[in-house]
Symmetry: D2
Subunit: 303 residues, 4 copies
């Protein structure tokens, strides 16, 4: 039984925390909106008032938040003495599971080291359903000993862990590269659907053909959203998709890697924002493409 602190109980964090409790670990949780944290009380969680309280007595503190700013907010905190960095025990480990920038991951790695604390980067692949089913894929990087220590907690949340080395930020690169691959699939689908649709082919049938070829559940599920133009409710908002593609572009620029397809997708997502699609599912990237081809139905268009 491990004493786990958990910060961030959003669509992903809540089911992840619950699975840790179910696996028999002790869990102290903090969420900015406390009411949401209360849901975990019946699962046995101890709810606290600040990131520092969540970290105070933990061996492992997991952060699962929306973006760089949210993570910075809990690690360094705004007010004195409430940040994770200030209260984490010397030998404890902070496991950052959010999708954040390579730069922030490196910065946290150094900040924790300076305090004699440990840092593991462990972003995940999977939507909320996968989190609920403990079927996430976890990409972990950091000192082997520390990753070993986290393994039982990872096992409680995921179906597998990929260890990509000792430099924590590598896990973040893998995460943004993976999300970029999904975005690329959305763009390609958007364009090919527009192409066949304007030629008079039924897109549902085209999707069936694609599924026979690729035999991928990712193509199947996203393809279905695009074929039916079902962009609400958003499983993952277009504006968050833009954030992730931007992270990929930043990571690429930092190592002088041209990624023109990521640029193309970024431009379409920016146009999506301009057209009011920011709150739609990010598969609405295909709607931007359909608009450009003059065939968007316009239904569900952002207000």
């Amino acid at each position: 039984m491990i004493n786990v602190g958990f910060i961030g109980l959003g669509n992903m964090g809540l089911p992840m925390a619950r699975n840790i409790l179910r696996a028999g670990h002790k869990l102290t949780a903090y969420n900015r909106t406390r009411s949401r944290a209360e849901e975990l009380v019946k699962d046995g969680a101890n709810i606290v008032e600040s990131p520092s309280d969540a970290a105070a007595n933990a061996e492992i503190v997991i952060s699962m938040l929306a973006d760089d700013n949210a993570v910075k907010g809990v690690v360094w905190a705004d007010r004195s003495n409430t940040g994770l960095l200030g209260s984490l025990a010397g030998n404890a480990v902070h496991v950052s599971m959010s999708t954040i920038s390579i730069a922030l991951s490196q910065q946290m790695s150094e900040a924790h080291k300076a305090k004699g604390q440990h840092y593991v980067s462990a972003p995940v692949f999977g939507r909320p359903e996968a989190a609920a089913a403990a079927k996430l894929w976890i990409v972990a990087a950091g000192e082997a000993e520390q990753v070993d220590r986290c393994q039982p907690v990872f096992d409680a949340m995921g179906q597998g862990v990929f260890r990509v080395g000792g430099e924590p930020s590598r896990a973040n690169v893998v995460k943004v590269a993976g999300n970029f691959l999904i975005a690329a699939m959305l763009e390609a689908m958007g364009e090919s659907f527009a192409l066949v649709k304007k030629a008079g082919v039924d897109v549902t049938q085209f999707l069936e053909i694609i599924n026979s070829l690729f035999r991928s559940p990712v193509y199947q599920s996203y393809g279905s959203l695009i074929a039916t133009e079902k962009y609400t409710p958003a499983g993952f908002k277009l504006e968050l998709g833009l954030k992730d593609v931007r992270l990929a572009l930043e990571a690429a620029e930092a190592t002088a890697t041209p990624v023109p397809l990521a640029s193309l997708i970024r431009d379409h997502l920016v146009s999506g924002i301009a057209r009011g699609y920011g709150d739609l599912d990010w598969s609405a990237l295909a709607r931007v493409v359909a608009d450009d081809a003059g065939i968007s139905t316009g239904e569900e268009r952002g207000v």
Copy 2:
């Protein structure tokens, strides 16, 4: 038992013709290089000297050739009286299984109709191994009655037939849209591999992660070629890949559909030609991307 004519015994055509013979049909074959056709004699094929001879007594004549020019060459022929169009019986059907332009498909549809002949467009998805294993996916379009008539022959070659309507050229649109989706995957892989590689991540491990996410045999097989930079021997040459992307762009332009990702891929393939990669496998699209990131190993580079 159907009397089948078969024109074009290349890497795809030869195993397809063999499977038709094995299914118990009669087959009269023509290939420009006769020696290659001889391979089919032991399977029971009758080898002839011209496209018109292959078509003369056939109910169904299949053409499976490299490109528009090759198809025009056998349909209209150069010399008098040797073309398919001139000798096909009034009620017989020409089944075009090559990857050709929408424009040529429409032109053939009209030419055959004018002669009282039938025309079915039925391009396939699958590499030579799939053709040998009778595991092709066939996308067929044309008059329902004629497609019905071809069904036993299709069954001999493929694992499934998708019927996409009465207008033959629609099948060609589906084919080029499908190939574009594969090309898009290659581009996305090339970029993401370059991104993670420059960040110090092992690409083989990254591929393993991708495979866990997408669970697609197409990602797996092409991903493996790219991760190991194994671009020879070419399963499908880069210059043919460029031809197919060009067909997608033409089909898109004909219906005023912007397909910027297809444009991006086209530019990378053109650059591949300029760099001498035309004869490598088209997954060498990823090498163009790696070159641009300054990390190409340069091995296997075109001579």
Copy 3:
């Protein structure tokens, strides 16, 4: 005084032909729509009924038509004995001034040579106003002796001739490359205007700044069209602009030259067609960009 045949009296051809007459040459003109040709009678032109009649007694026959198909139509003609190729005298020269493909230019060069006739390619830069003012820039390629022979006629129409060598199609490459540079300027203006406009900067003032920097009449005139969103009447239609960018892409692909900016422009022009802007001035490329940024005023939008 030279005996000139002139085929094609459109917005460009009519003033060009008139300037040849004014310079004292003899001119026999053919236009598909005869009524338009009649305008030249008062200038001294002889109007005829077919391309072959225009070519019959001419030393120099100029063709100035919309596109490849129109040029093919007059050179080879549909009906027997009415084409330029059939009636041009052995030592006479066909001067193709239309914006056509490199491939067609090469084809005509060979066809004329086979007949013992001469061929000079001489496309022009300049809008109808420049043609009226005899201020065109002419890019000529072909045998030096033949270009010399045409010089007096070129002098009657333009302010200067650039000779780019003996291979006629080179002049066509220069023409499409030049038009591509203008299209690139339109795209760049469209994007920069959208950028400053959304930041609250007055575009008219921004244009003034650009003009101070670039000091180019081309930036000034097109910039003014874009700043005022005055896309009708079209000086040069967007659909013709798409044709020219396509010619640049074809020329580039023939020599394995990636031109990604040309691809980007092509996709925006295709989207312009899809949005109904085909008949607007091609500077409406900037409207496509503005649409994508969500700031198009929508005025003057194609019906």
Copy 4:
């Protein structure tokens, strides 16, 4: 006579400061590398040891530095009491003439306001030669009264001032949009030069044709660099060009403006960095394009 503080005596700042002195104003200068500042002593400048010393008694303090970080360094300073912000008099004005981000410009505007100080943003167009000749174009934004006050100093450095409103950051948007237009010209030239070169056309002659068309000194000077592949010494380094294009992309994303051409240029510049061209002149963007077309001569390639 105005009492001017001047921070940053680089290739641009030094001649700008000298022209202020020549116009009869008093000037107190600070440069990180003091030896360089000494050059101004003979022109009558007073050289000091910190940004705060340069600001202490000035009515107007001009900063002209390389990038955001350099500007932050002098405004907020690292060590206590040495920053501009701390020593600028209540009614004095900080004139930021560097090419910086919209975000930093807004941040400085607020910081100065909070201190009761004034802030004017006034980036410039022009290369070092233009700075030396007092021929810069200055784009100024800020409170009208403060811009009025700076006018005599602007007159000493430039040939004209464009006032783009009261919100200081607008001047920065105009600056990055203008630089983007130049970058777009470089990309377009690179592509068109590659296109004509591979078709056998002499690029020097092609440039002559372009100059006849555009009649722009900017096309002429950059075109000449590209035609002769003279990328050293760098007038403006490729890596700084990448910085500026990134600023344009950031400004565009902040207002949801897709700028795909800026993205394309960014990718080519990133590839330029990967190929070792970071220290060449940014017109070497054309070399990236030439490499992709397989025709780069490879001379002058970065070490």
